[in-house]
Symmetry: C2
Subunit: 334 residues, 2 copies
């Protein structure tokens, strides 16, 4: 069953995506399974196990080798491009008419080798993965029914990973998600008022005082977010204004790979059992946001559990100041 | 350091609350510590260890016994009533002037005995805890500087609990939090349009089709939320329209205790290692929401980790339909 529901009171959007095979009681077990127990022998993402995944949408290979990066449909998708019609409900009800979520859920297998994080890949390999992100965004931009593509990494059990083999996920959506709508809205408002990109302005301020800077290179700046939701939340922002990740150059892919790897290495040296989520924020397709939006990555280490206060209020509690977090990450990189 | 920060782009509110004693590297360890390892001997909440907590704000005792419920200030608060002045920053900056968050963070110790959940308390003991919630809301409503009080329970490590001894938490806030503002806004809008409380209307619909009903008694109805964010997310709503939990009657406290205990027992029979958050949603102080708001509890079992998709988009993926969840909870209560 695939269904997109809106909460009748606050409009919150939830995909109901039942994996019919799994029993309700499996959830906790699956969630708490220690992914470190996995062995390459049963890893569906390793070279030689290609038959354990659906057929690849895209494979990047060198003439001399087998595949280097593979993009396959997720075996347990949250939504799908192939939906049969859905009978609308009694519209006198407060329940929204559930939509069959049209879209796709893909896994980007970052290497044929059984390694657990991008820090174990070469800079060239990471850059290649980033260029596969770019390619899939370009591919999906040609689907009229897709407005936004969310690309993210879950690393470690505490970040929601179920398989340890280095991989990213891609979810193609028919509409722009709430978090991106909120960013676009205030970025457009700021641009209308100041004729300036709000992300460029934040970057200028972070570079000027430098108190939350973590790393920078020719093309990218990494800094701890002023209002980080978790200890060490870090944003990676391109120096050059650009709304769409699809415009990433090959040279930039190498520079971006270097910053991401350096950041994750520093995090590992601070946090013995690092789990993190890495999220790409980029412009929706067919949205004229070139002037005011600025693509970037947000990396959120999962140090503390969201608890009743966060779930009940929508506010966050961060027990480490972003300034101290940045200083610690810089120090650990020395 | 206490600071309330607003994200310069989306306005997200984050409390920066540093526990100076703890080292950044402690977070993961503390988070993943198995609370089941705790022994009553070192439990600061057990009878006889009162000196390990700050002085009690409130103690409920029977003539014949020592205290039965204790309310103490949190030793590691997210905010505090005693804040020194804070130097405003350069206001040309995008950074909001950080506010020193004025408020309080309290722990409600539900029993002198070392038990781990309200299912191990008697119905009378649970009802007494609920009446302490009511009392603290009444107490805080007299502080002009406090607009909202968030009361919640974190049970189990996956729900953010750090101590296993049965307890609740209370955070008194100077402003109404975003999640409650959103509820108030759409409830007020619905009332203006239909002259009806939206929660009463949801309740009517849930009772009429019954497909998500879990339990009901004379005063309360528990049903799985139509757009539940996690498997088994359940709301407990009073049949009688009332905006403020402060108005709970003693008889209702017994009925509410019965529903909460029955619900948690059913969840435990479905989920071998249950972790959950229980959140009270009630009207802000000095807000004329009597007509359109309706207090209730939201219980969210923590079955799956929020991952990159949820953090990046603000949407949720729930792998179990609320209808199947309700059927499973009803069956397990037979």
């Amino acid at each position: 069953m695939f269904e997109l529901r809106r909460d009748p009171i606050v409009g919150r959007q939830v995909f109901i995506a039942e994996d019919r095979a799994s029993r309700p009681n499996d959830f906790l077990e699956r969630d708490s399974a220690d992914s470190a127990d996995q062995s390459p022998a049963d890893c569906p993402f390793c070279a030689g196990h290609e038959e354990q995944t659906p057929e690849a949408e895209l494979e990047v290979s060198a003439a001399t080798s087998s595949w280097q990066v593979r993009v396959v449909p997720n075996k347990f998708p949250a939504l799908s491009l192939n939906q049969q019609a859905f009978a609308p409900q009694d519209t006198s009800s407060l329940e929204s008419v559930p939509q069959m979520p049209l879209g796709a859920h893909e896994v980007i297998i970052e290497t044929p080798r059984h390694v657990q994080d991008i820090t174990e890949l070469s800079p060239d390999e990471v850059a290649r993965v980033l260029r596969v992100y770019r390619q899939r965004l370009r591919d999906w931009s040609e689907h009229d029914s897709i407005r936004y593509v969310s690309i993210f990494k879950n690393v470690g059990v505490a970040a929601g990973a179920s398989l340890e083999h280095a991989h990213s996920q891609l979810i193609a959506l028919p509409d722009v998600p709430p978090a991106i709508i909120a960013e676009l809205g205030s970025a457009e408002y700021y641009f209308a008022k100041h004729r300036k990109c709000i992300f460029c302005q934040v970057l200028t301020e972070e570079l000027s005082h430098g108190k939350r800077l973590v790393f920078e290179n020719e093309s990218f700046v990494a800094f701890c977010a002023y209002a980080g939701r978790q200890p060490y939340e870090t944003w990676i922002v391109p120096r050059d204004h650009n709304a769409q990740f699809e415009h990433l150059t090959n040279e930039e892919s190498l520079q971006l790979a270097a910053v991401i790897q350096r950041l994750v290495r520093s995090l590992r040296s601070r946090l013995s059992r690092l789990s993190y989520n890495l999220m790409l924020h980029t412009s929706p397709f067919r949205q004229d946001a070139a002037d005011y939006y600025h693509w970037h990555f947000e990396l959120v280490p999962r140090c503390t559990q969201l608890a009743g206060f966060e779930w009940g209020t929508g506010m966050f509690i961060n027990p480490l100041s972003p300034e101290r977090a940045a200083a610690a990450l810089v120090a650990s990189a020395q």
